[in-house]
Amino acid sequence: MHKIEIKNKLPELENVVKFLGEFGKENNILPKIVSIYNIVLDEILSNTIMYGYEDKEEHTIAIEFELSKSMLICKVTDDAVEFDPTKVAKPDLSLDVESKRIGGLGIHIVKKMTDYFSYKRDNNKNIVLFKKKIS
């Protein structure tokens, strides 16, 4: 298990990108898969940091990676307000250029790009788990 902890500040996401890049290289994970994990984590973590905290305190978010035979498993744990991203409604993708909206698109991308995506609330913490086949 490989773990990185960040504070609830957007610039900290750059540390996640760096960590994932090194983890990918060490474990010979295809750059394409690393990119997909970067996208998914950008969506999930930016959502939590921008909308998940009602106070101005510093909070810690933990991101853990585990490599199984054919899957890369990622678990994100935070103490933000309760939020189940798996329940976010699918955005209307058929809209024309002028009516198109970005809201809800991030989580839709996460659902489509992962093979498994789950949420649970445990001990006042949000735990998001996602997996993708890597070979």
Binding site: P11, K32, S35, N38, I39, D42, E43, L95, V97, K100
Partner: protein, 111 residues
């Protein structure tokens, strides 16, 4: 991210380099604002050097397209990497943008 610019006649070619995520989308948006203030009408966003784009980046691509449509200009996206095209498809963006396989084909769109 890094953005390199070149001009070919009236066409502005922006070579987007790196990734467009929640942090770097700010830079991309600043470039967009600059292009708007310069009243450029023909823009190619060359994507071969992009590793990925998240929804924060999609927001700026959409701003670009809406603006170019409004002023009667044209926007072309060229040489999109596989993962980026997947994000565009998932988001229903592949049908609203002009996307070409190569930069040359992108330039040809303006002829």
């Amino acid at each position: 991210m890094e953005i390199k610019e070149q001009k070919q006649g009236e066409i502005v070619i922006l070579d987007l380099i790196g990734q467009i995520d929640v942090n770097s989308s700010q830079e991309f948006q600043e470039k967009f604002t600059e292009i708007v203030s310069r009243k450029e009408k023909f823009v190619i966003l060359e994507c071969s050097n992009l590793s990925y784009v998240s929804s924060s980046g999609l927001r700026v691509f959409l701003m670009f397209l809406k603006h170019m449509n409004q002023i009667g200009g044209k926007l072309v996206l060229s040489t999109m990497p596989e993962v980026m095209f997947e994000v565009f498809e998932i988001s229903g963006f592949d049908s609203i943008f002009t996307i070409t396989d190569t930069l040359d084909e992108g330039i040809a769109e303006f002829n």
